[in-house]
């Protein structure tokens, strides 16, 4: 059946499995079967480092088998429906409905409709209440679980925090209960006792007349708050020695090794920097060893060193020194994304340029010092220009800068600031005596719409309305006076939807369901995104997107994520938001501890200071 379909679709190699590094076990010798589902296409999902880590940690359990599932492209989905082929895992081609546990990774809000679609395509009831018994427990992990509420109708268990230990603990518990023949409710009540597990069905939500949350009430001895899990020692934490290597083309198809988790900077818009605190570094020797082992086993010719702010990695120079000693010989390229613009030195440039030049991207985020201070992006114009100068003198003729518009306290003056900064960079290029000969410069400015996220100081802030954003975009276009600057941005409708899903409550789940029923899927792909259908879904559920996205939230309002505990406290976020409105900065963790609350874990950088 499958064979007949595969030659009728684009890139059939995405649907067959058998890649080098994939794990195949005997289903009869395994007690628990886990389907790790990435709710997007194969090419996108195969780049996800979290899946690679958990695929390895779960498969290290003799009695468990973790397989991979991705969202089929439209042509394949049509063929599957027509021929009654259920969505299956790549390793064994077993349909999703035959798995014990089905796990989704929530990397971005616009992937939510794909989750529903994959469940249905796999023969699994989409609503949690329709799934009885221990079979087909649906769980989810990843950054979006920090506000899991919009998905509570569909997911049985959320993993809050890092999964290396947490996932296996849950699997052990499941194995026990499966042996005992427990019912689903008994299992879920036991699961809620594991730190980091959030079982939504054990919480009742009540709302005030104005639509805001009144309270989350736990039942059956579920904990009042759920504290996230972290891995204490990244050096000792499990890390794969083998990756599944795709045959077909995939994005970011290379060896990836993390440098550290969390971030010291405290930029007020950035959720990742807070949810992954406390900052924990991996030692250079371990990074080097892991990268070497992965290159040898996979045959990749590129290594990417990952973190939220790589130039802050303490041992960066030593690490690059030792890695270059073997990567150069083997013609392996070192990619170092996420560099901060204020410590981009000649020394660093020399090191990363030595094998192959990639493009240079800096996140300036805001066009004026005033606004950069308000968002706590502690970089000056001088630093931005100095880094560009280093880049230009080093042979780069193109730089890309990321900005956001719609930031709290922003004015039209700040928008003009973006154009002015771009112009200064262009002028800088042409003023240099030793710039690359005979080539012009391209300054690419990419301007995203700011989306306020939970667990940031800006979680209280309203998102700019689409009208305001359009006006600002036009103002930016009008302010740019040179063809050397190329502008790009996102469609405001996708940002609005992202904002609703990011700070939505449980009722938003009905909107997701309605949107999916109306055919929404692959919402993060421009060619599929249908805002009109989402608008219909909101209307059908009698919910207003503006209530979630464009409303300022009071500091004492109960937010739908307040029962999740990440260490960093709400009072810290309140303090920081107030400082933002005074355009006052906060120093980074290494300069001075700001008392965010992450010390409660007793790990990482916080320990070094206290």
């Amino acid at each position: 059946m499958l064979e007949d379909i595969l030659l009728k679709v684009q890139k059939p190699g995405r649907y067959v499995g058998g890649e080098q590094g994939s794990v195949v076990k005997n289903p009869d010798e395994v007690d628990v079967r886990f389907a790790f589902c990435f709710p997007d296409s194969y090419e996108i999902g195969m780049s996800h480092i979290g899946m690679k880590i958990l695929y390895s940690t779960i498969n290290s359990l003799e009695w468990a088998w973790c397989e991979r599932v991705f969202a089929p492209w439209e042509d394949m989905e049509a063929q599957m429906r027509e021929n009654n082929v259920k969505l299956y895992a790549l390793e064994s081609h077993t349909p999703l409905c035959d798995f014990d546990i089905i796990g989704f990774t929530l990397q971005y809000e616009l992937s939510y409709t794909n989750i529903l679609n994959m469940l249905e395509l796999g023969g699994v009831p989409v609503l949690a209440k329709d799934r009885k018994g221990l079979k087909n427990i649906v769980c989810a992990g990843g950054p979006c679980t920090y506000n899991p509420e919009p998905l509570c109708d569909f997911v049985d268990i959320f993993f809050i925090g890092e999964g290396e230990e947490l996932d296996n603990e849950l699997l052990e518990l499941y194995r026990e209960h499966k042996k005992r023949g427990s019912d689903k409710e008994t299992f879920l009540r036991a699961a809620a006792k594991i730190e980091g597990v959030y079982v939504p069905s054990l919480y009742d939500v009540t709302y005030n007349d104005d639509g805001t949350v009144a309270a989350y009430t736990p039942k059956d001895n579920a904990p009042a708050t759920i504290r996230k899990r972290i891995v204490s020692n990244l050096d000792k934490a499990p890390y794969p020695e083998q990756f599944v290597v795709p045959y077909v083309e995939a994005v970011f198809d290379r060896v990836s090794v993390e440098l550290f988790r969390g971030c010291i900077r405290g930029c007020r818009f950035c959720q990742a920097g807070y949810i992954y605190r406390p900052v924990r570094e991996k030692s250079a020797a371990v990074v080097d060893r892991q990268a070497k082992a992965l290159c040898a086993s996979t045959g990749y010719d590129e290594i990417s060193l990952l973190s939220l702010s790589s130039s802050d990695y303490t041992e960066l120079n030593d690490l690059l020194g030792s890695m270059l000693s073997w990567t150069e010989d083997k013609r392996i390229n070192l990619a170092l994304p996420s560099l901060r613009i204020d410590n981009f030195s000649d020394e660093l440039l020399e090191k990363i340029a030595s094998v192959r030049k990639s493009g240079l991207t800096f996140a300036a985020e805001a066009g004026t010092q005033r606004l950069r201070d308000a968002i706590n992006k502690n970089i000056t114009e001088e630093e931005i220009l100095s880094s560009c100068k280093t880049a230009f003198e080093g042979g780069y003729t193109a730089v890309k800068l990321y900005f956001m518009m719609g930031l709290p306290t922003e004015t039209m003056e700040d928008i003009e600031g973006i154009a002015n900064l771009g112009q200064k960079i262009v002028d800088l290029y042409y003023s240099l005596p030793n710039k690359p000969k005979g080539k012009g410069v391209t300054v690419s400015i990419s301007c995203a719409t700011f989306v306020p996220k939970p667990f940031t100081p800006f979680e209280f802030e309203p998102q700019d309305t689409a009208d305001t954003i359009l006006k600002k975009q036009q103002h930016l276009i009008d302010s740019v006076k040179t063809r050397k600057i190329q502008l790009s941005w996102h469609d405001p409708a996708t940002s609005l939807l992202e904002a609703v899903l990011a700070r939505g409550d449980r009722r938003v789940g009905k909107v997701i369901y309605e949107a999916w029923k109306r055919g929404c899927k692959f919402d993060s792909w421009g060619e599929y995104f249908r805002f009109d259908r989402w608008e219909e879904a909101f209307k059908a559920c009698r919910l207003d997107p503006a209530f979630y996205a464009n409303r300022r939230r009071e500091y004492d309002e109960v937010n739908p994520w307040d029962h999740i505990d990440i260490g960093v406290t709400k009072s810290f976020f309140v303090r920081e938001d107030k400082l933002a409105h005074q355009s006052t900065t906060t120093p980074n963790c290494r300069q001075k501890c700001a008392g965010c609350g992450a010390t409660v874990f007793g790990e990482g950088l916080c320990c070094e200071k206290h």
Binding site: Y15, G18, V245
Partner: protein, 208 residues
């Protein structure tokens, strides 16, 4: 430096991997093998890997060849074979490693074994003097071509067809032959598998 010619099979799930993907596959296989691979100079160093003849998506093959440049004149082909065998998957089985003899440009014919729902009196199709079909040109246009002369020989079996077709610069894809058969017999013909089993130069000598 020298080139080694690796003969291998491409079967099973690997028939869904395109020719373009195969380049990337062999680049990684070369690296994992630990052989002293030769790299190009300059901006973006990569190995020199050249395939004898592309294989269409969906076809299997038991006689594939790829040349890989090694940075050691005296590298042993047996050593190369051992190293490749240890890193190549089952569905990409390495058969032997030799010094290249013929140039890949010399390939003129390819043999295919096709397992299909063969119509009665299949002979009548091949006994035609001319078979006109529309072929895509390299520039993306379409032209009408007589494909009969490009069918060098044929053998009809039970649910089986063995064809030797022109290959290389003048290339006839067996799918086009089957399409022509569909038109001739005015019915659908279901194909179960297409396996390329041999490559030849214009003197009909095995490509080595």
């Amino acid at each position: 430096m020298k080139n080694i010619r690796v003969f291998y099979q491409k079967t099973g799930r690997l028939k869904y991997i395109s020719h373009l993907d195969m380049n990337r596959v062999f680049t990684r296989i070369s690296r994992r093998s630990g052989m002293p691979i030769w790299y190009t100079e300059g901006f973006n160093p990569h190995p020199r890997i050249n395939f004898a003849l592309p294989l269409s998506l969906g076809f299997e093959s038991t006689y594939e060849a790829v040349d890989i440049r090694i940075d050691d004149d005296n590298y042993s082909n047996d050593e190369a074979f051992g190293r490749l065998k240890s890193v190549m998957p089952d569905e990409l089985k390495v058969v032997k490693v030799t010094d290249p003899v013929m140039k890949t440009g010399e390939i003129a014919f390819a043999r295919f074994e096709i397992s299909l729902d063969l119509p009665e009196n299949a002979e009548s199709f091949f006994e035609q003097g001319e078979i006109f079909m529309e072929k895509k040109t390299k520039k993306g246009g379409i032209k009408t071509v007589d494909i009969r002369p490009m069918i060098s020989s044929y053998k009809i079996g039970e649910g089986r067809l063995e064809l030797v077709l022109s290959a290389g610069t003048d290339n006839l894809n067996p799918s086009l032959v089957i399409d022509a058969m569909r038109r001739h017999f005015d019915r659908e013909i279901k194909v179960d598998s297409v396996i390329r089993t041999m490559l030849y130069n214009k003197e009909m000598e095995k490509f080595i």
